[in-house]
Amino acid sequence: MLTDFIPFALNAMTLISILLIVSMGMAIIFGLMNVINLAHGEFITIGAFVFVLVQSFGGNFWIALVVAPFVGYVFGLCLEKALISRVYSNPLHAILVTWGLSLILQQLILLTFGAAPQSVRRPFEGSIEIAGATYPIYRIFLICFAQAIFAITALIFKKSRFGLELRASIQSPEMTSVMGVDPDKINARAFASGAALAALAGVLLAPLTAVTAFMGINYLARSFFVVLVGGAGSISGVAAGSGLIGTLETALPYQIPNTVAQALVLILAIVMLRFRPKGLVPA
């Protein structure tokens, strides 16, 4: 019994951990800044392809782990200046602009790298034994690492000056600028941070899945669900949402076909929206 449960629990934890990082970025951008970013999945893809590039230049996972968030951050900064800053007040425009961006990015990546799935080397090969079950080391690493990143980000948010300035500037941009803080800079940094987190998730995800130009879109919907179901704008909401959605998506396919499982998660999100529109743990 335990030997069946352990892999299941660890699989769930893996998905939850990835969702945590991806949704953290989404929670900052959507939950706090109220920007609907349909290109969020492409940040993940970019992170994964940075890993591919790093590898082709002889680098490894650890280098990619540092480079990708940096690339994501810079990219996020440019995007914010060029496009996102113009659509803060208009969610419909945000949807159109980021969706258009997503289409373009997917095609550019496709044209650059081709349609064949890329593969990357894991930093840890092999498995270890846990209570009689064997489980890949890389996944265990991913779980621990992702949760650490989540904790650090949460801390930065709650305790650091940047976190405070961000929360203040979202509540009231006028007041914050009066206090000498530049809301434009804050917005740019926040958006870029969200992008960096997603890119990081892309690197972590790459060894587990087929790296293609279209890999990000599944995480787009999921991260929206996590933020909507868990509660937009709250850290514990992201944790709650990731936990719920990650567990469901791992557990359900054991009993029912994958496609039905996905439909059920969608239905859950819709029902939650209806009855608890502020999410499980509102801000």
Partner: protein, 323 residues
């Protein structure tokens, strides 16, 4: 006839959009005289897409709520028709009608359930859009994953040709005029309804939903009715498409199709109804030209269009993206 309806009729006749609609109808009526049979089949398909675009405009143009999920309904119509025709042993004389009912019924049901939960939960605007986006993604996954029923990635072929009340619609002329008839019925019906009282109420809801509620209107219900009607229209177009082309494939229930139909409506001007039809024809023609360069060129063009639309024409004369 009260003088109230008399005034309405006068106003319908005076609106320029109605005159354009009449002009376009006349052009489409005589079109077959000028093109060959093969091109006619292509035009017939464009007419079906125009019905699809009209269905989106009826909802988006009037309520201001953007749906990224309309391809779900088109696709449900198409797959409903195909699955009933292929997997079940039904009398050939009524299989098309049953397929139409199945496709439209399925789409209406999904729209009813999803719409009920979201609209009655007070969800509007961007959240609504996100949910419909997720809906299309999920529907697409099911279409690809449930291969025993849907044929998976390759879809299904062998959809029985359209036969209604003993009349077969295989011939390009007949099928063209049938689709045109459906389009014109929907077009002028929608114009009449949206220019009338119901349209006024929807505009009022878009202006100030709370005020409309204090006037006694059950706004969520009205929005739901519009959503379900719009979904049914899209499904009908999808079902006819499947029957007349003989196959279905997952790209009929895909996110890309949902974004394309948004463009068709946006180019023509959302809210004008006839604009959706004109937009479909214009964009279809553009797509033929652009795709011939490179398979990637079209998605890049769409993406750039969206960005340009927001950056340069947020309230443009040609593309009215309402807020």
């Amino acid at each position: 006839m009260t003088d109230f309806t008399q005034t309405l009729r006068r106003r319908i006749a005076r609106r320029p959009a109605t005159l354009v609609a009449i002009a376009v109808s006349l052009v489409l009526l005589v079109l077959p005289a000028f093109v060959n049979a093969y091109a006619l089949s292509s035009y017939r398909d464009v007419i079906l897409f125009a019905i699809f675009a009209l269905s989106l405009d009826v909802f988006w143009g009037k309520t201001g709520i953007l749906s990224f999920g309309h391809a779900t309904f088109f696709g449900l119509g198409a797959y409903g028709m195909a699955v009933t025709g292929i997997h079940f042993e039904i009398d050939p004389s009524i299989v098309s009608l049953v397929g139409l009912l199945a496709g439209v019924g399925l789409a209406a049901l999904v729209a009813l359930l999803v719409g009920y939960f979201i609209l009655f939960g007070g969800v509007r605007g961007a959240y609504f859009t996100i949910v419909t986006l997720a809906l299309t993604l999920t529907a697409n996954h099911i279409a690809v994953g449930w291969s025993s029923v849907t044929g998976g990635d390759s879809g299904l072929i062998g959809v029985p040709p359209l036969v209604i009340f003993g009349l077969s619609f295989v011939d390009p002329f007949r099928s063209y005029y049938l689709c045109l008839a459906v389009l014109l019925a929907f077009l002028f019906g929608s114009i009449a309804i949206m220019n009338g009282r119901f349209g006024l109420i929807l505009t009022a809801i878009q202006d100030d939903e709370t005020k409309a509620q204090t006037l006694g209107y059950r706004t969520s219900l009205l929005l739901l009715v519009t959503f379900v009607a719009s979904a049914s229209m899209a499904a009908l177009a999808g079902a006819l498409y499947a029957a007349m082309n003989g196959f279905v494939a997952p790209d009929m229930i895909a996110l890309l199709l949902s974004t394309e139909v948004i463009i068709w409506v946006a180019v023509g001007g959302s809210g004008t109804l006839i604009g959706a039809i004109i937009g479909t024809f214009v964009v279809w023609w553009l797509q033929q030209e652009i795709s011939s360069f490179n398979a990637s060129a079209w998605p890049i063009a769409i993406g750039s269009f969206f960005i340009a639309l927001v950056l340069f024409f947020p309230r443009g004369p040609v593309a009215l993206v309402s807020e």
